[in-house]
Structure formats: C-alpha cells, structure tokens
C-alpha cells in the first residue's frame, strides 16, 4: 500500500517535470537559439545542417557591434543611448502624470469626472497602428517629426491610460485617514500627497515605471513612421532595418538583440513581483 502511494507520487513528480520542461523549452528556445547564434562566426550561421553549439566559439560579433557593425551608417551605441534616453524620460513623465491623475480621480469629485475616466479607459483600448497616419500628420504639424521629443510625448500619451488606471486602484487602497491627519498637521493637499501618499504607494509607482519603460524601450511602429535619419534612430528601428537587408547576419542580429534585451531582463529580474502583480491588477480592475 505504502509502495503504491510512493510510486504514484513519483509518477506525479515526473509528469510535472515533463510538462515544466516542455513549456520552458517552447518559451525559451527561440530566444536561446538566437543567443547561441550570437557566439558563432559568420560562416557557421549559413551551415547546413545547423549545429546546436558553435564549433568555433567567439565574442567577435559583440566586438564588431561595439565598433559599429556591418554596413551601418550610425553606430549601435548611438541607437542604444537614443533608446535609453527616450525610455527614461518617458518613464519619468508617465509616472508623474499618472500619479497626479490617479490621485485626482481617486480623491476628488467633480463634474464630468465620468467622461474624463471614459477618455482614459477608451484611450487604453485604441490600437496604435490604426492611428499611424493621423499621428504622423499631427507630429508633422507641431514640427516634431524626426525628434526624440515627439516620440517621448507620444509614448507618454500611450502609456498614461493604463498607468493611470493602475494608479487609481493604488490610491483608492490607501486609507484617507492617513492624509487627513497630515492635513491636520499643517500640510496642504499637495504636500500631503508628496510626503504621505506617494511613499505609501511606491509599489504602484514602481509598477507604473516598469510598464512605461518597457513600452517605450521597445516601441516600433511610431518610431518607424516618425524618425527619418540614422542618427535619430532608436534600437528597434536600426534592428528592423538590419533584418530586412538581403544578407543579414543572424549572429550579429542575435548579439544586438541580446545587448538590447539585457536592460529588460535586468528590469524584469529586479521587479518580477511588481510586474506580475501589475498585470493582474490592471486586467482584473480594467
């Protein structure tokens, strides 16, 4: 009897491991394969049959990228810092705007509040690609075509609906009595917000910041439409351009992809908890 039970447990454990490995393989393989390729010399990328591990392991591709890459007008490093700058500024702007709006919606009653909330909600649902044309016209009209400022404003506008939604939920979870005692102690509403409410909602703020960063770091269609010169290109643009060239070197692609994805992995490792919570909260409330 004991033995049967033990056996059943072993089968169960085995089944779980099997499913785990299958899922992990499907999820990881495409990315891992690209990563492995980034250590192969050029000739091995065109080898038939493809070998799983490189015969000749090399860091040369990474070196080539840092020196500028094959047939590329602007160095990768420039694209990298363009992307980083845009993502960081967007993150700051988004966090500020959505914290203010989230607090306003959570604490104040005012005429047309419902309409304003509806605008935020619908703004979250609209698909970017359907707006490519009019947004390009708009950005052209305000003279921000081919500038990072244009992208930053646009990314902020597209991140704000979702993060405001998150922020409303966060601030509503904070008891009003805490601010009220701060008000009694001589704070005004704004200083109470800065000194008392914000520190209490830092988890929500971190979630907001992560979303804004990831979104603006990897955005592609708007950048494609609005950026025209090589010097202004973000990483996604420069990479997409490389992959469409006829003789693309996938080892180089792999290496660039890895360099590009490392900040994301770092953010993700650092904040996985917030991330998962943010997704769940955003969807369950929205």
């Amino acid at each position: 009897m004991e033995n049967i039970k033990k056996n059943k447990n072993i089968y169960r454990t085995f089944a779980f491991w099997l499913v785990t490995i299958v899922i992990a393989f499907i999820v990881l393989f495409p990315v891992v394969w690209l990563f492995i390729t980034s250590f192969k010399p050029d000739k091995e990328t065109f080898m038939v049959p493809p070998s799983f591990l490189p015969h000749e392991f090399t860091f040369g591709i990474y070196q080539r990228i840092l020196e500028g890459g094959t047939a590329k007008p602007a160095p990768w490093i420039l694209n990298f810092f363009n992307s980083l700058k845009i993502a960081l500024v967007t993150t700051v702007l988004t966090t500020i705007l959505s914290a203010l709006a989230g607090y306003g919606f959570a604490r104040y009653r005012f005429p047309f509040k419902f309409i304003l909330l509806l605008i935020i909600l619908v703004g979250q649902m609209l698909p970017g690609p359907a707006l490519l044309v009019p947004i390009a016209v708009l950005i052209e009209n305000i003279g921000l075509t081919n500038t990072h400022t244009g992208l930053i404003l646009l990314y902020t506008a597209f991140a704000v609906p979702f993060t405001t939604w998150l922020a409303i939920g966060n601030f509503e979870a904070i008891p009003r009595e805490i601010e009220e005692s701060a008000l009694v102690d001589g704070c005004n509403q704004f200083t109470a917000f800065i000194k008392v409410v914000l520190p209490l909602s830092r988890i929500g703020l971190i979630t907001t910041a992560i979303f804004a960063f990831l979104m603006s770091w990897s955005e592609f269609p708007f950048a494609l439409v609005l950026i025209q010169t090589d010097e202004q290109q973000t990483m996604p643009l420069a990479m997409a351009r490389l992959i469409r060239e006829f003789n693309v070197f996938f080892n180089e692609m792999g290496a660039v992809t890895m360099l590009f994805t490392i900040p994301i992995f770092l953010v993700f490792l650092f904040a996985q908890k917030y991330f998962i919570r943010g997704i769940a909260a955003g969807a369950l409330k929205g």
Binding site: T20, I23, P127, L131, L132, V133, L183, W217, S218, I243
Partner: protein, 307 residues
Amino acid sequence: MSKSSNMAVSSIHRRGFSSRRALYGYAWTLPAVLCVIFFIFYPIFESARLSLTDQSLLVMETKYVGLETYKDMLTSEEFQVAFKHSVIWLIFGTLGVFVFGFLIGFFLHLDFIGSRLLTALVLLPWVIPDFVAATAWKWLTVGEFGIVSFYLKKMGFPEPSLLASSTYVLPTLILLVIWRITPLMAILVRASLESVPPEYYEAAEVDGATAWQRFIYITIPTIRYPLVIGTLLTSLFVLREFAVVWVTTQGGPVNYSEILPTFIYRQGFMYFETGPAAASSMIYFFFILTFALLYLFSFRRVWKELL
C-alpha cells in the same frame, strides 16, 4: 490656518461638488487627460476628416470626396485580402491565446517545485519586444539553415521555409503571436485562480465533490469575470501587433500575410496615399470597436453583475 485645513478635511467626505474642490480635481487629472486627448483622440477625428478626402502626398490638390474613399477601399481586392487576414488573425490568435493561456495558467497555479521559476520564465515572450520575438522566429525558419526549417525538411515537409510559403506564412505568424501573448493570459489565469477562496474547495470536498466537479462548479464560475475581461484584453493585444509581421515578411510573400495594420502602413507611408490610409484606419478602428462591443454584449451576463 488650522481652520482652513479642517475645512479641506471635511470636504473630502462631502458628496456634492464644491467649485473649489472641483477645480482642484481638474488640476490633478487634466494634464494626463489632455495628453491623451491631444495625442490619441484628436488624431482619430483628424483621421475621420482625412478619410473623407482623396489626399495623396504625391498629388498637389486634395478635395473632399465624401465616402468615395471608403467605397474604393472596401471594393479593392488588396484591402479585402488584408481584412480577411485580420479576421483570421483575430479569431485564431485569440482562441490560441485563450486555450494555451488557460492550460499554462492552470498548470502554474498547481503548487509544485519550480512553479515560481517557471512563472517567471513563461513571461519571457511577452517581456521581450515584439520585433525581437519576430527576429528570433525568423531565424528559426529562414531558408534552409533555420533550425526548424532544417528539421521540417528532413521530415519531408513540403515547404520548410515557413515564412516564404504562401500556405504556411499566415499560420506561422499567428503561432508567433500566440507564443508572444499567451504569457499574459497565463499570468492572468494564475492570478485569478489564486483569488478563489480555499474554503469553497474545502466545503465542496466535504460534500464529496470530485476534482472535476470542483473545477466546473467552483473554479470556472468564480474566475469567469477575469477570464472574460482577460480574453478581451489579449484580443486587443493581438489586434495591435504590427512589428511581428513587418519585421518578418512585410506582409509577403506577395500579400499572403498582409493584415490591416501593415496594409495601412503601406498605403500611408510607402505609397503616400493618405486619404485611403486614413479610410482603412477608420474601418479597422470600427472593426475593433464592433468586435469589442459584440464581445462585451455577448458576455454581458458575466460582467454586469459586477458593476
């Protein structure tokens, strides 16, 4: 000083509008709302206006032609193909995300050694940018040296270079989208399963319910709201994909993988036909809106009780 702050305290609880409080409310919320109106809503109206014109950046003169552009689009074969692909894209993409997301989410919910690590790993396809996902998949299926194509060819598959095949390019890209968006659904399912109170299961077990009965009569009814909303959310993500197609095939070969977003981009930014591109955008916009409303309407029993 203290008197005025006391007043502020009491007005937090007041139900009616006081004009000064209302002004504060606008001061907090308007920066974000105006940003959204200016960059998201205004463009829609601009798009609506442009769609009534025959604007082309290659021709100097632009005139209003009413619904003529819409008629041209709806009757053009290229548009119809892209539209058909978008419908297929939406249906199979969303179904795939739902099925795999639910299965994986349920599996992640079962508490076993490594479940937390797997939860983190599973998010990877969704965390990486869409065009990185697209690059990785292109590298799997390119020519003869892509590793998947290579083994497909070895197994005697007729068209191993999937992205260059007129038959398999769309299914492959839909699989890629499913691969990419399933993690979102899986995490949602896992989170909502976790929110089912364990007492429900305990009570059912006392009453002698089998695991299957517990699943059908407790789990599903309790998590149906997140399931319904989560599926809508993921379907909107499926409809938003552009880079996945643009980076891999640009809608090709010919137009076998053209979906509306790539069609709109091509019209607007490669042919510079602004009017037609705006009209297609509006049609796509209404398509999404109709879909979302129909969806919400058919599941109204689920979400209405939560309002």
